[in-house]
Every structure is written in structure tokens, then in C-alpha cells.
Symmetry: C2
């Protein structure tokens, strides 16, 4: 693991503390399965981390999600243990977490848990580690949560904005500039486990479908960098994952079709679901999309949360006390 500066010392003194917001994230972005993700300004988790003398990790949760407090079984804890190990266990961390991103929502709850603490700790360490180092540590947390060491939520959570994971071995993360966009999310209160959502995917895909998919990915990336909203909209199409996974989400087809009628550029499953996200060019459209989403889940009779937010270009950020 490389550090920003090999000659730098990791300095922090017991008692030092910082509060951060760790943002929710949307992974996949329809056609970019396992490679694309974006960070949200809402929802986000709140965390306070304190350097302690003893080389151990202490975790407090101020939320009601009944998450395990033993660091080896806690997503935040596993990431912090990975960092402690890199620091030769010279000191420890005490973390207080208030999760607002509901676990299992598909909005990067575990990525926020994994990324927030290590970014926060790194701020206390004078940015001793690079962003890429932090992604590597946070991936231990993601592995605990989903069984897979993936980075498509962690990368945007740490870097902010839209990120591309070009490759995992070795890790190659690219920031993708994009024009301003609004994100409307609906989280229908049903459970879709990431592991189940992964299980139902076919191991093989038709070459002709893969070609369609990479045309759309290339179009989406070009659309983002060229600030071409029309191209972004046309490219938000997934012929491989969505047709399989959307079956697990009641109301999906209606949400997608009616959101586009209401003005959304496009959208689809957020991560592995059950949340659905839609991108819009302006706030009025994003709010019209929210109305559509509410109507649909009221009719179906499933509880839901909605968010209308924007892309978070900073990632995990320090907040006042």
C-alpha cells in the first residue's frame, strides 16, 4: 500500500476528534454494472471519530438498526481495523455513528459505513493516506457487508462526484466530470439482499447484448464529460442486469416509464435495489418525478421514502460540531 508521501509521518494525538457526513451513493448507474457510481448530497450518515491511546476500535451506534458493535463484525469497525493495522497499531479509534442511510436500501449504506470512518480518521492524520489507500481499507467493510470486495459505492463516497472503476486488480479509479444534475430516489420498504440480487444474475451474457451495453456505457461516459444531457438520457439503458433484477422490485417498470414522461433523463435500479433513482436536468422535473414515485407506491400499498437531491462532488466531508 502506497501513501501520499513515504517520508511523511502519521501524526495524531489521543483526544483529537472530527465529525463527518458520509454520503449515500448510487452504484451501477443503469448500464455501468460494477464500474460506475455517484455520490449524493442526501441521505448521509453522521459520524464522530476520536483518536484513543489504546490500539483498539470502540463503536457506538446512535441509530436503531441493531448493528453489531464488535469491530470485527461491524462494517465501520472492519475498515478502521484495516487502517490501524497500516499504522502498526500505534493508537486506536472511538467512533460514534448515526446512520441515516438504511441498510439494505441500495443507496450505499455499507459503503458510507466503511468509507466514512477511514476518511474521517485520515483527516485527523493529516491526510497521511491517499484516497486510493482509503478505498482499499473501506473495501474490507464492503466485503463484510456483501461478501464481495467491490468499490463502486466506496469510490464515489470517498472521491465525490461520478467515479469509474476501470479495473479492480490493480485498482484504477477515474473521476468522471458531469454537468449539474438532480437525483430523485425512492426506497420502497422491501428487502433485496445484495447477495440475492447478485445470485440471480446469469454468469454468461450474449455477446450481442454485451455490445449494446458497452455502446451505452461509452455513450453515458461521453455524455457526462461532454455535458450532453440528451446523450446521457439515451444511454441510460441496461439490457443485461435490469431485466433480471427489476423483477424483484414491485412497481419498477411504472416508476421508470412514468418518471421519464415526467421529464427525467432516465434512471433505474440504485445499486442492487430496491431503491430506484432518476436523473433530471432541473429541480422542477426532479420534484415531478418524486410525485410520480409517491403515487405509484401509494397505489401499490408499499411504504416508501423519497429523496430529491443533487450530486455530491466532495464525498465524505467534515462538518461543524
Amino acid at each position: 500500500m502506497s501513501t501520499n508521501n513515504e517520508t511523511k509521518q502519521a501524526t495524531a494525538k489521543p483526544g483529537d476528534s472530527i465529525k463527518v457526513h458520509a454520503p449515500g451513493t448510487v452504484a451501477n448507474l443503469v448500464c455501468g454494472f460494477d464500474i460506475l457510481g455517484l455520490a449524493l448530497n442526501e441521505p448521509c450518515d453522521e459520524m464522530e471519530i476520536k483518536i484513543i491511546e489504546e490500539p483498539k476500535v470502540i463503536i457506538h451506534h446512535k441509530d436503531n438498526y441493531n448493528l453489531p458493535l464488535e469491530p470485527e463484525k461491524n462494517v465501520c469497525g472492519v475498515a478502521l481495523l484495516a487502517m490501524m493495522d497500516k499504522l502498526d497499531n500505534k493508537f486506536g479509534f472511538e467512533l460514534t455513528v448515526t446512520k441515516h442511510i438504511k441498510p439494505g436500501s441500495g443507496i450505499g449504506s455499507s459503503a458510507a459505513s466503511a468509507a466514512g470512518p477511514v476518511v474521517a480518521a485520515n483527516k485527523l492524520l493529516g491526510n497521511y493516506f491517499s484516497n486510493e489507500d482509503l478505498v482499499q481499507m473501506a473495501m474490507f467493510g464492503e466485503k463484510l457487508a456483501s461478501g464481495v470486495k467491490h468499490a463502486d459505492n466506496i469510490a464515489p463516497c470517498i472521491y465525490g462526484g461520478i467515479t469509474l472503476i476501470r479495473a479492480i486488480h490493480p485498482l484504477d479509479i477515474i473521476s468522471i466530470p458531469a454537468p449539474p444534475m438532480y437525483v430523485t430516489l425512492v426506497h420502497p420498504q422491501i428487502e433485496v439482499k445484495t447477495s440475492d440480487a447478485r445470485q440471480i444474475l446469469k454468469k454468461q451474457v450474449l455477446l450481442k447484448d454485451a455490445i449494446k451495453q458497452w455502446g451505452n456505457i461509452a455513450g453515458l461516459v461521453a455524455g457526462f464529460i461532454k455535458s450532453d444531457y440528451e446523450l446521457i438520457g439515451r444511454s441510460l439503458e441496461d439490457v443485461i442486469i435490469e431485466p433480471v433484477r427489476s423483477i424483484l422490485i414491485p412497481g419498477f417498470d411504472d416508476v421508470k416509464a412514468q418518471s421519464k414522461e415526467a421529464g427525467a433523463l432516465g434512471g433505474g435500479i440504485s445499486g442492487s435495489g430496491p431503491s430506484i433513482f432518476m436523473l433530471s436536468k432541473n429541480e422542477a422535473e426532479a420534484k415531478a418525478v418524486e410525485v410520480v414515485m409517491k403515487d405509484i407506491y401509494e397505489k401499490i400499498g408499499i411504504e416508501y421514502y423519497t429523496y430529491v437531491t443533487t450530486i455530491n462532488n466532495e464525498g465524505v466531508k467534515a462538518i461543524g460540531n
Copy 2:
């Protein structure tokens, strides 16, 4: 078929003529199978087209490739017949072609044959048709040549630069800006038929390979638009098509490895082969790559041509008499 301007009239009078260069093209660009392509400044075909009164297509070839002269069996002819049809057979075309791009080279010989005449004719018609219309007409020629109506050579031949075919139905062509680059090509004089090269591909691919591929395509497009040469180099990787097709090209692995050692950013099979292309940041590296290529085919004992050229940003262009 839409035209640039529905109220415009296609005007051209018998006797009007124009000469054009129709450029060679590199399709696929390693990871962008069937969706990406770029136009070359060399080699290119020379064509002169003349409007004639009688609604028919007359073709003369000044090269020695023994191509059929009946318009229905000639790639240029088929494209021109498609255009004549759109013009309600009000007049005809007489075409004189000197092909410099050897058929079967993998450098877009059939695309130049198909695109050159319709772009040239359109110049005489006051650009009555849009570029997209011209691609549609030229695709008839490509279909005659390879059995498949693909546009990944035709689009860069007509638009110039690097093009993305995001989708075929309906056709969606995106110009991808890119930094200056040199292209070194070697055409080993062996025959690889496009239809054979397509036949040996598996109809299904592993999802995990498809994910690697779309990471690289996204990286390549981002690298082009962001003028990030390092990213372009890292993204020029193909885990799906190249491992299968490169077996048909003697010396391929050596050319690729030694070209990169000589300074190339990367490269691979040009179209369906047998030509191999390499992208370089500057001319010195591109020429060093040419030396490597020559050495390899001298040793193997296969005849070859090489080219050191640049990206052609204009596509088919008018030339003086």
C-alpha cells in the same frame, strides 16, 4: 430517411464532378468491438464522381484488385444505388475509383468504397443529405462486403476523428474528441475474412469478462475526451475478442508487447485483422513502433506493408484535380 432540410432540393447537373480521398479506418479500437472506430490520414482511396443524365451507376476501377464492375455487385455501386433511389432516380453517377486500401486488410477498405462515393456525390448535391443519411446508404455497401450492416468503419470514414456507434437501431453516432495521436499500422499479407473472424467468436461471454470490457471502454472514452494519454494506454485492453482473433494473426503477441516497449500507448487488431495498429503520443515513438513491426515480420518471413500516420479529423474530403 431524414434530410438536412426537408424543403431543400437536391440539385446537381449532368457533368458536375468532384474528386475525393476516402480514408482508411481502424474499427473496434481494442475494447470497443463493433462500437468504436477512427479515421486515418493514410492509406486512402481516390475517387472521382460525375453526375450523368441517365439514372444508372457506371463504375471504372483504376486499381488491380479485380473488383466486379456491375454496380449491384460492387460496394461503391450498391451505396450509390441506395442514394439514387432516395433521389427518385432523377439522374445517375459515373465513378472512377483508384483503391489504395487493399481489400481484406482490416483497414476499412470496404467502408472507404461505400462511404467515399456517397459523400462525394452529396458534395455535388449541396450537402442535401445528412451525415447520418450517408452512413445509412454506405451500410448497404458494407453489407455486401461483409454480410453485416455495421457502421463502425463507415462512421469515422464519413465523420472523421473517433466515432462511437452507441446504437444501431436507431442509429446513434457520437463524435469522440481526442488528443493528437500517431497511428502505426502493419498489414501482414495474409488473408483473414471478416466473415471468418466473426464466425470464430463465441456467442456468449462471461459476465465477469464483460464487466472488465466495459470498464476499459468507459476508461478509453474518458481518456480520449480528457486527453489523458496514460488512461488511454491502460484502457487499450480486450479480454473478449482479441484472445480469440489474435490466433489468426502470426506475430500478434510479439508486435503488441514489443510495440509497447518501444513506447506505444497500446493497440491491437485493426478491425477484424490481419492488420495491427498501435497508438503513440508522438512521431518518434510511432516510428520506433514501425521498426519493431518490420523486424518481426522480416523474421517470420511474411510480406507486409506499414504506415505511420495520424488521425484524420475530416473524413472523406474533396481534393484538387
